[in-house]
């Protein structure tokens, strides 16, 4: 046993507790990626998280850092106030798509445009989870929800909003990347993006946002396995993965980097 060493364990930034998330939901994976990066960069003890309203309002029960619980959509405003007074600390918001892309659209756009030096973990599963499966601004065309029972009618409510593309139109430098977590390969790539986002923050470089394409088997009415296939066959087609903005790369006039 003398030669043995621990090569895998629970990150200290993750509390040893069972989450309330549904089977097949990817919040648990995303929590863990954030926690692993906070551990690896040795940031946990100087980090503040800002929880949203939605399923992940209880993120503070799982991620082992100081936390604020924001009103619906306002996490970027809270993060702005906190980070402006404590630029020496690391601040991240954890927000769903109803929170960030609907009620909090104003706050996220202006925080990004001011180049606030915090990190946004944006979890997009295309539906309101906590309230029981209503249509979100990110719900796919034709997707059935409790408030679009015949499928999202884009003639009435418009096309789903692509947040990374939208924010990438801002001229202020930022790091914006969309990732997925439905396969181990995607999880490894997603972690790289999270690490990059927090690293840029430690360097006081820029606003950073990582968009996770997530699942909601309960409200999609699918099994966890079917949800993975849904992401593969539907979500990824409308929401392309990749880096949309990086302070190290030149922004082209067409919005690509």
């Amino acid at each position: 046993m003398e030669d043995s060493k621990i090569i895998f364990s629970r990150p200290t930034a993750l509390k040893p507790t069972v989450t309330h998330y549904c089977p097949g939901c990817t919040h648990g994976v995303i929590h863990r990626l954030v926690a692993e990066v906070l551990d690896e960069l040795n940031l946990r003890e100087k980090t503040l998280g800002v929880a949203p309203v939605g399923c992940s309002v209880f993120a503070y029960n799982y991620i082992n850092t100081d936390f604020l619980e924001a009103p619906h959509g306002r996490a970027p405003a809270l993060a702005t106030g906190f980070k402006r007074l404590r630029p020496d600390m690391i601040v991240f918001t954890y927000q769903g798509d109803g929170d960030l892309a609907s009620i909090g659209m104003g706050e996220i756009v202006h925080a990004a445009n001011r180049g606030e030096k915090f990190t946004v973990i944006f979890v997009n599963n295309g539906i309101y989870g906590m309230t029981g499966g209503q249509m979100a601004p990110t719900t796919l065309e034709g997707q059935i929800t409790t408030t679009s029972p015949k499928g999202r009618n884009v003639a009435e409510v418009g096309m789903p909003i692509r947040i990374c593309e939208l924010l990438s139109s801002l001229v202020t430098p930022a790091y914006l990347e969309r990732v997925a977590v439905h396969t181990p390969q995607h999880i490894i790539r997603a972690k790289r993006a999270v690490r990059k986002a927090f690293t840029y923050q430690t360097q006081n470089r820029c606003f950073s946002l990582v968009e996770f394409l997530s699942t909601c088997p309960t409200n999609w009415g699918l099994t966890p396995g079917e949800s993975v296939r849904w992401v593969e066959e539907n979500t990824l087609k409308y929401y392309p993965l990749g880096c949309f903005k990086d302070p190290d790369k030149e922004v082209k006039t067409d919005g690509t980097v």
Binding site: A51, L68, E69, P71, R74, A77, G81, L85
Partner: protein, 366 residues
């Protein structure tokens, strides 16, 4: 410190800074924008943080985040902007966060006007946002008092871990008066802010929140708030009496600059040998209940006259406090119209005439 001539909004800004608020978040709105303009150049001078945000909704929530650091934070706005901040104010009250909010009131409802009003009394003292909470509300009537109360507001916010509102009509913001700042700002000692978020180093994480899904837990939090409000009622009530004498038949109740207009009316009536007194609440919450009751209950007082720059808001508290022991009359102008000393005098004289008539009738009957 020498006395200097300052505009109300600028004096309030300087007072906040001297009370230790070295950060300010804002959105422009008349008639209080000079607070922002003053601090836009003043904050950088003291190494503070100045930020103009995208809306008052954002400002309220930026204040929420900033207050969580444990530093002294404040913002200012005017009526429609204060309406937009109610979400954050409710959350901050629920999460026991101290902050100071200055409302330089303008006429409403809706976009209303930009002239002075006192029509946000209900909003300030009865809730404003959702839920079982209160603000401690201070109402200055001079620029000097606005300075003093703004500085004290930070101490009170910290003492109670509760938002404090300094509420003034538009004149408080726009008027210029001589003011004096204390040479050295001193206040009683406060407990350490061991609740603040500073990073979970060598301790369990601090979580600042207002969600309690268990009704018993939420009730417990609300009872904690209630205890604070009861303590405010016991320790923070402030008011001022002006020329209350045993020969007075009328007691005027008025606050803010409206009370000063009433004082002018009272002084002018004195030259006509008419004596009237004034009760001026300084804390609108906690309301000076016992004190006003005692003044209204005096044998010589026949009528209580409430004068406001509104269609009648504080008068409901006066009715609640006086409990029917004396008749209450109300006079107010609304929408940015300020009652003049002449109008106040007219109201007083009319009441005295009626009072004399009633007495005559009573005497004849007797």
């Amino acid at each position: 410190m020498p006395r200097i001539l300052m505009k109300g909004n600028e004096a309030i800004a300087e007072a906040a800074l001297r009370a230790g608020a070295t950060n300010y978040f804002c959105y422009p709105i008349t008639p209080q924008t000079e607070v922002a303009e003053y601090l836009a150049h003043r904050m950088p001078e003291v190494g503070g943080v100045f930020l103009q945000a995208e809306s008052e909704i954002a400002v309220g929530n930026i204040l929420f985040g900033a207050a969580s650091t444990g530093k002294r934070v404040f913002t200012s706005s005017s009526s429609p902007g204060i309406s937009l901040m109610q979400e954050a104010i409710s959350y901050m009250a629920g999460a026991h966060l101290p902050c100071v909010i200055v409302n330089i009131m303008r006429g409403g409802p809706g976009l209303g006007g930009i002239l002075p009003a006192q029509s946000d009394y209900f909003q300030a003292t009865k809730g404003g946002g959702h839920g079982d909470y209160r603000l401690l509300v201070l109402a200055p009537s001079t620029i000097q008092e606005a300075v003093d109360l703004t500085m004290q507001a930070f101490y009170l916010a910290d003492k109670y871990r509760n938002p404090v509102m300094v509420i003034g009509d538009g004149m408080i913001g726009q008027m210029m008066e001589p003011v004096e700042f204390p040479e050295k700002y001193e206040e009683p000692p406060l407990p350490p802010k061991d609740w603040a978020c500073t990073g979970a180093r060598g301790r369990e994480p601090h979580i600042i929140k207002s969600l309690f899904l268990d009704p018993l837990a939420l009730e417990k939090n609300n009872l904690l708030l209630y205890q604070k409000y009861e303590k405010m009622k016991a320790e923070e009530v402030r008011f001022e009496l002006y020329k209350t004498k045993t020969e007075n038949k009328i007691l005027i109740v008025s606050y803010g600059t409206m009370a000063r207009i009433c004082q002018t009316a009272i002084d002018e009536l004195e030259t006509e040998s008419i004596s009237v007194g004034l009760f001026r609440p300084i804390t609108l919450f906690p309301y000076p209940e016992k004190e006003l009751y005692a003044e209204a209950a005096r044998k010589n007082i026949k009528t209580v006259l409430v004068i406001e720059m509104s269609i009648g808001q504080m008068v409901e508290d006066v009715e609640r406090v006086v409990r029917g022991i004396k008749p209450i009359k109300f006079f107010g102008r609304t929408g940015g119209v300020v009652p003049s000393p002449e109008e106040a005098k007219e109201q007083i004289k009319e009441l005295l005439k009626k009072e004399a008539g009633t007495r005559k009738r009573k005497t004849r009957k007797g």
